[in-house]
């Protein structure tokens, strides 16, 4: 026969027994207030215990185009001057003194000497997007991407600018975008984490776990760090010496121990639930292992991402894993570089090409592959750092060491590109001044960027709130934040 009791208390008779000690009338009074509670019209009562949270999929407030996001985060600040934002004026005035104010971060090695882009720009695609010769593969998907040349956070160092872009404000301790998406939309897959951070084999990004921290949101919305080597997910995969047969043997033993325990505890549903949760955990381990295993991808796909070449193997593998995760229902994947590897204060002429060689082909492949699989429309792809660089020389080793020069920070006007998820392909948005220092047209502030991403997910940045204790948390707190309509398809 059906079990008359369940943990949801839908058919609980204990209240009958309890209330029977009191006359009918007090029960009747309670009944008046309570009976419609079943219909959901009862005023919300104060919570008796901590609210509980889950990662079940949730519908956005209105239909959104994007269902998942992959962010290729280029911490350090790739030089827009050399990659994305060609300025004839800089070529013309190469070597001359910069007219007007320069916003240096590091005066110790600063100069006003204008440095023209060190690489040539070429037109790509039907849209004729001008991109640096360092990014030939990206040129191949120019018609699919949106190039934003007018990003601005205005906080001129890595940590605050990173926080501004990912948490809405240049402060420690706030939840990052991925956590917000996980809390608002949950995850399609319950066998995989909702928010995944793929880290670099050479090390963690600057600030490590703060890049995927849930801030004041419940910890369930924290990003799960996927290590570049086994064990890829903490606690998801067993320690190496337990992997495989040893853990299977443990699980079998555990199941039989728990079954025997259950015989002595008939009817304890929670014990059975816990047994089931071990099975689910085992499933998760399999699901994640499967998702990280790119050996089943075709040779052509692996070549597309550059998995077959040393220089692109790592980044290509992670881009490919990102696609596999999104395919399997993961909401937000962020691919990190180590440290702040795009922070080219010196030796930019060798360091920047080296970085570009590693990521150009895999990043472009990701866009192409998603498009070919019909996933690009629903997957928002982002490529960019927390800043760009100045058009003037930074003398790392004195005025005479000209082969080791670089560029200082610039958060006042920098570039990044996005694709899919409802962004407008083959489009260049905004502009900086003639020296690529300040955004002057179509400026996209960090809060506008976040508002626009939320919009594409069907979320309103003004309405997206999360109650923790007595107060509401918000991702976007700037009253002037707006969705950048021009960016939308």
């Amino acid at each position: 026969m059906p079990n008359p009791i369940n943990s949801h208390g839908l058919c609980s008779r204990r209240h009958v027994l309890r209330t029977s000690a009191f006359g009918l009338s007090s029960v009747a009074a309670a009944w008046l207030l309570k009976q419609d509670g079943l219909l959901g019209a009862e005023p919300v009562k104060p919570p008796l215990e901590p609210a509980s949270y889950d990662l079940l999929p949730k519908a956005p407030t209105r239909p959104g185009k994007a269902r998942a996001m992959i962010s290729m985060f280029m911490l350090g600040g790739p030089s827009q001057v050399d990659l994305f934002d060609p300025k004839p004026e800089l070529i013309k005035r190469n070597g001359q003194s910069f007219p007007g104010d320069v916003k240096w971060d590091n005066p110790a090695q600063a100069s006003r000497e204008i440095m023209a882009p060190l690489w040539k720009f070429q037109h790509h695609g039907r849209c004729g997007m001008e991109l640096s010769e360092l990014l030939p593969h990206l040129g191949g998907v120019a018609d699919e991407i949106t190039l934003i040349r007018s990003m601005r956070t205005g906080v001129n160092n890595h940590v605050p600018s990173n926080f501004a872009l990912t948490t809405g404000k240049p402060e420690h301790g706030r939840a990052v975008l991925g956590s917000w998406l996980a809390s608002a939309l949950g995850s399609v897959s319950q066998d995989l984490p909702a928010f995944v951070a793929l880290t670099d084999p050479r090390g963690l990004p600057l600030l490590g776990g703060e890049n995927w921290h849930h801030g004041r949101l419940p910890s369930i919305y924290q990003g799960t760090m996927v290590r570049p080597t086994e064990p890829r997910i903490f606690n998801l995969a067993p320690p190496s010496r337990l992997r495989g047969a040893p853990q299977s043997a443990q699980l079998n033993l555990l199941h039989s121990l728990n079954r025997r325990h259950l015989v002595d505890h008939p009817g304890e549903n929670e014990l059975e639930a816990r047994m089931a949760s071990y099975q689910l955990a085992a499933r998760m381990q399999l699901a994640a292992t499967e998702a990280f295993d790119i050996s089943t991808e075709s040779e052509a796909t692996r070549r597309l991402y550059g998995v077959d070449q040393d220089v692109t193997r790592d980044y290509g593998t992670r881009c490919l894993i990102a696609r596999r995760l999104v395919e399997r229902g993961v909401r937000f994947v962020q691919i990190f570089c180590n440290g702040q590897t795009w922070d080219h204060h010196g030796s930019i002429n060798t360091a920047l090409p080296a970085r570009c060689r590693e990521i150009d082909q895999p990043a472009a492949a990701l866009v192409r592959d998603l498009q070919q699989r019909g996933l690009l429309d629903s997957t928002l792809v982002h490529w960019g750092g927390e800043m760009g660089r100045l058009p003037v020389i930074q003398f790392r080793d004195g005025l005479t060491q000209r082969d080791k020069v670089g560029r200082d920070h610039n958060t006042y006007g920098f570039s990044m590109w996005v694709a899919g998820g409802g962004f407008r392909g083959g489009y260049i948005h905004g502009a900086t001044d003639e020296f690529s220092h300040h955004a002057i047209q179509g400026t996209v502030h960090h809060y506008d960027w976040l508002a626009t991403v939320l919009h594409l997910f069907g979320l309103d940045h003004n309405e997206l709130r999360f109650r923790v204790g007595p107060r509401d948390l918000k991702l976007v707190e700037h009253a002037e934040a707006r969705v950048v309509q021009d960016l939308l398809a």
Binding site: S52, D54, N211
Partner: protein, 912 residues
């Protein structure tokens, strides 16, 4: 009988991923409709059965049936506030008849001719998204049709209609009664409380469940009182004690353990909302001194401090302290001041952001904490409007809050931010030592700084050398000029050579000018830091401190808005609690002391023994933690919306005994633990499940999952690593590179975070209560097992069953390490045969011996796994085992695998 049907199995499996909702209290609460229907049937037909016909009260009366609906849905606009919408007041039937701007709204006997019915029926009223439900509407319709009757004549003064008789008669607001201990035949009654339980069991013809066996009992009582498993020695002593009062002696031994205070202190810290960070803002600044309050609580429980004194000290320790202002050199006064930290536990964002709203939030959170903790009432719900269920008006709320207003002077300059509330009681010798060390550090530091400045000068010279010769002198002069004295040309010139700066600037910015040298200096500066690290910390306390002479004007805040103070109020107990016993009015200002004396007077009233809630609420919590469920199942809500007591007379009897014997909590523990009721086994039976599925009658013990802290502490205990030391500053928690909150501190190198310094072995193995409680950074392990966030406090823990818990048991390095430790311990202390190893293991984990069947199957597992590991050696494990352990490595690994599995098993995780 209790086999699973597929439907339920499916639901249960989904509950694995969303268990919180599965265990939410709200569902059973809203099932009263079922209760009521079944009850009617029970009344008519005796027992059981399923009822389908819907029943409704025959004669509908305003006070009993209609008013609760209107109170929750309408009074806010039409009654409570001075300005009533449409000048309409719905609090009395005659006022409805009189009506408002739109004329009379009620025409008794003619619902359709009554405006109120038309508005409600068409959903024009109430405004907003919440409407009356069809059945509520039907009720209103029939009430009007029946003539809009009241039970009693209505009061002449509308103010007297704020509370209905039903509300005022609510059980929790009545004085504690002195029930006779019932006479019950045929039950083993070990303590008087058994008689109360037996009487209700007898009504259902249910017996007590058989007593639990000794292993079960010692494990249960040891967990209950200490949060740890019993030691092998304790089990042996108990098993060998043949005296008839062996169990009683066991209870007394455990009650005397200092670990008792850790366990029961933790329960109190939950409701006090103990946290070591300010909360409320993202930065979540730390409260590095809050641990002293934690130690105060633990010590108070261990010393069996009478609970009335415990409450008084926490509410008014500063006012009890004989000196004024209190003398921080006097140990007793320090204790009293520490206790008053209770009133400072709530989140307080004003350190970072001192706004009126944040001050108000800190004040109202404190009221929430103390009212749920001490009164078991949701007083905070009346902060913006009259309480929707309980007879607590918004005026009551602010009068009650006025008792504490001198601590929370919202307006003006009397507010003190958390850092300004610290008192320093560092002893003179400690202070002198700190000053001496600081001076020492300063000498080294000054010397380093002098050399840095010299270097700054040298670098400047080099930078000037880079400047073309024709401009060099001019640039040098411009740079030497004070910034305000530079002329336009000099300013321009310096802009062209931005690296030319003053020597002081360069010295402070060496990292960019000469990183190699900068690193050397950083290395040297570590010496300074090392010297400073030997400084003894200041002794500081965060206390409830009234500024003498500060007594802010207390007012009702209109709709809870601190910017809209209205009617003035004076400090007072809630009106509904003022009747029994009649309370002498609280002083606004006690002339005999510098502070207002309000809190002390209130604390004395609260602990007079006659207060209807104080003792009941505390006794109920004690019951809750011993049985897994309170006599009132909603420990924070004894109000009309809370659950009714399952055994009201027992609750009162216990409360009465408790007060009569000097609020002696250890006596109360004994009373409960020695009862037949407590010593029952936990096994469900078909008959019990049929008649009492939720075990409300306590015809058996409840099976309970360990709390987060108990799991961690128990794993450490059985693996032999637990450091049982008590007290002291907390073990810090920090984020490691993977974003995981772990025990340890950030390491800094060159001013940047360079990694995590793990907690020392001794610290890493302390009990969980000594782990730092940062609201925004709970230890991953603890939060995985439902350690609550203090926002502002936690009244009832939930117990979820989620996959992350299973993954922790399967894969977490903490547990794998503990299993290794346990295996090694067994290898080191047992004979080299599986049977003695398994016996030793079972005794440590389960306080009992394995059955022969278990020995056979587990020995089989061990030998199988040893064989496997012999063929598949793990180099790392073998390396750790060393050459001596190498031959034993496969067996040790197999044993470790078994240990881990046993630690993960339900038998370990649950307490019978």
């Amino acid at each position: 009988m209790r086999r699973l049907c597929p439907v339920n199995l499916a639901r249960r499996q989904s509950a694995v991923e969303e268990p919180p909702s599965g265990f939410k209290r709200s569902c059973p609460r809203s099932s009263r409709v079922v209760d009521f229907l079944v009850l009617c049937c029970l009344a008519a037909a005796g027992l059981g059965g399923i009822v389908r016909a819907e029943t409704e009260p025959k004669s509908i009366r305003f006070e009993e049936h209609i008013r609760p609906v209107f109170k929750a849905m309408c009074f806010h606009c039409h009654g409570e506030e001075i300005e009533k919408k449409g000048d309409l007041d719905l609090r009395l039937v005659r006022l409805m008849k009189a009506g408002g701007k739109s004329g009379s709204v009620l025409n008794p006997g003619d619902a359709k001719g009554s405006l109120i019915w038309r508005k409600i029926n068409s959903d024009k009223m109430p405004e907003g998204s919440k409407k009356l439900t069809p059945s509520q509407k039907a009720l209103v319709f029939r009430w009007i049709e029946q003539g809009a009757l009241t039970t009693d004549p209505e009061p002449a003064n509308v103010a007297d209609a704020r509370f209905s008789a039903v509300e005022l008669k609510h059980w929790a607001f009545q004085p504690v009664t002195r029930p006779e201990v019932p006479k019950v035949e045929g039950y083993t009654l070990s303590t008087p409380l058994d008689a109360f339980i037996a009487r209700r069991l007898a009504e259902r013809a249910l017996p007590f469940s058989p007593p639990a066996d000794r292993p079960t009992l010692i494990r249960r009582v040891t967990f209950d009182l200490t949060g740890l498993p019993p030691t092998v020695e304790a089990v042996r002593a108990f098993n060998e004690d043949t005296a008839p009062n062996a169990y009683e002696r066991l209870v007394d031994r455990i009650l005397a353990s200092p670990q008792f205070g850790v366990r029961w202190g933790r329960h109190w810290l939950d409701i006090a909302g103990f946290a070591e960070s300010e909360g409320g803002v993202e930065a979540d600044p730390k409260r590095p001194h809050a641990w002293r309050y934690r130690d105060y609580v633990i010590n108070s429980f261990n010393a069996n401090k009478p609970i009335d004194a415990f409450f008084r000290e926490q509410l008014a320790g500063d006012e009890i302290a004989p000196s004024s202002p209190p003398d921080p050199r006097n140990a007793r006064e320090i204790e009293l001041l520490t206790a008053s930290g209770f009133l400072r536990m709530a989140p307080d964002p004003t350190q970072a952001n001192d706004t009126l709203d944040n001050r108000n939030a800190a004040a109202s959170d404190s009221i929430k904490v103390l009212s749920t903790a001490l009164l078991g009432l949701t007083v905070g719900c009346a902060q913006c409007h009259d309480h929707k269920y309980d007879p607590i008006t918004i005026n009551d709320y602010y009068s009650f809050r006025a008792i504490f207003d001198p601590l929370f002077p919202l307006r003006g300059n009397d507010w003190r931010r958390p850092s300004e509330r610290l008192i320093d009681f560092t002893p003179t010798d400690v202070r002198a030592k700190a000053e001496r060390i600081e001076a020492e550090a300063k000498v080294v530091e000054d010397e380093i700084n002098a050399r840095k400045l010299e270097l700054g000068k040298e670098i400047l010279t080099k930078k000037l050398a880079d400047v073309p010769a024709e401009q060099r002198d001019e640039v040098r002069l411009a740079n030497e000029a004070a910034e305000k004295d530079r002329n336009e040309r000099q300013r321009k010139l310096l802009e062209d050579y931005p690296m030319v700066k003053s020597p002081q600037f360069i010295a402070g910015f060496l990292v960019e000018y000469d990183n190699a040298v900068h690193r050397k200096f950083e290395k040297e500066s570590e010496k300074v830091a090392a010297i400073r690290a030997t400084k003894p910390p200041k002794h500081q306390l965060m206390i409830a401190d009234e500024k003498p002479g500060v007594a802010p004007v207390s007012a009702v805040l209109f709709r809870g808005d601190p910017a809209s103070p209205g009617e003035l109020v004076s400090p007072s107990e809630l009106a509904v609690l003022r009747r029994h016993p009649p309370l002498p009015s609280l002083p606004s200002k006690d002339p005999n002391r510098p502070t207002t004396g309000r809190r002390l007077a209130y604390a004395q009233h609260l602990t007079s023994g006659a207060h209807p809630l104080t003792a009941r609420a505390f006794v109920n919590r004690l019951w809750l933690h011993h049985f897994g469920r309170g006599l009132v199942a909603t420990p924070n809500d004894f109000g009309l919306n809370g659950d009714r007591p399952s055994h009201p007379e027992l609750l009162d009897w216990l409360a009465g005994e408790f007060v009569r014997y000097g609020w002696d909590q250890k006596r109360l523990h004994r009373l409960i633990l020695l009862s037949t009721t407590y010593q029952q086994q936990s096994r469900r039976t078909p008959r019990l499940d049929e008649l009492d599925p939720q075990n409300e009658l306590v015809g058996r013990m409840n099976l309970r999952r360990m709390e987060a802290e108990a799991i961690r502490d128990s794993v450490l205990a059985v693996s032999g690593k637990l450091n049982p030391a008590l007290g002291g500053s907390s073990i810090p928690v920090t984020v490691n590179g993977e974003g995981k909150a772990v025990l340890g501190e950030q390491k800094f190198r060159e001013g940047l975070v360079s990694g995590v310094e793990d907690a020392s072995q001794a610290n890493a193995f302390r009990r969980s209560i000594f782990v730092e409680v940062q609201r925004s950074l709970p230890l991953n392990m603890l939060v995985t097992f439902d350690q609550p966030e203090m926002n502002p406090n936690c009244d009832l823990r939930r117990h979820s069953t989620v996959t992350t818990q299973s993954l922790w048991f399967l894969n977490d390095e903490f547990l794998v390490q503990a299993a290794d430790d346990l295996a090694q311990f067994i290898m080191d202390t047992c004979a080299d045969d599986p049977e003695s190893q398994l016996r030793s293991l079972y005794r440590r984990l389960f306080a009992s011996d394995p059955s022969s069947e278990e020995v056979t199957s587990l020995a089989g597992f061990l030998s199988q796994q040893s064989d496997y590991y012999r063929l598949n050696p793990d180099p790392e494990f073998e390396k750790r085992a060393g050459p001596a352990g190498k031959t034993k490595a496969p067996a040790t690994r197999a044993l470790s695998a078994l240990c881990q599995t046993l630690l993960a098993s339900n038998r370990f995780l649950y307490v019978d």
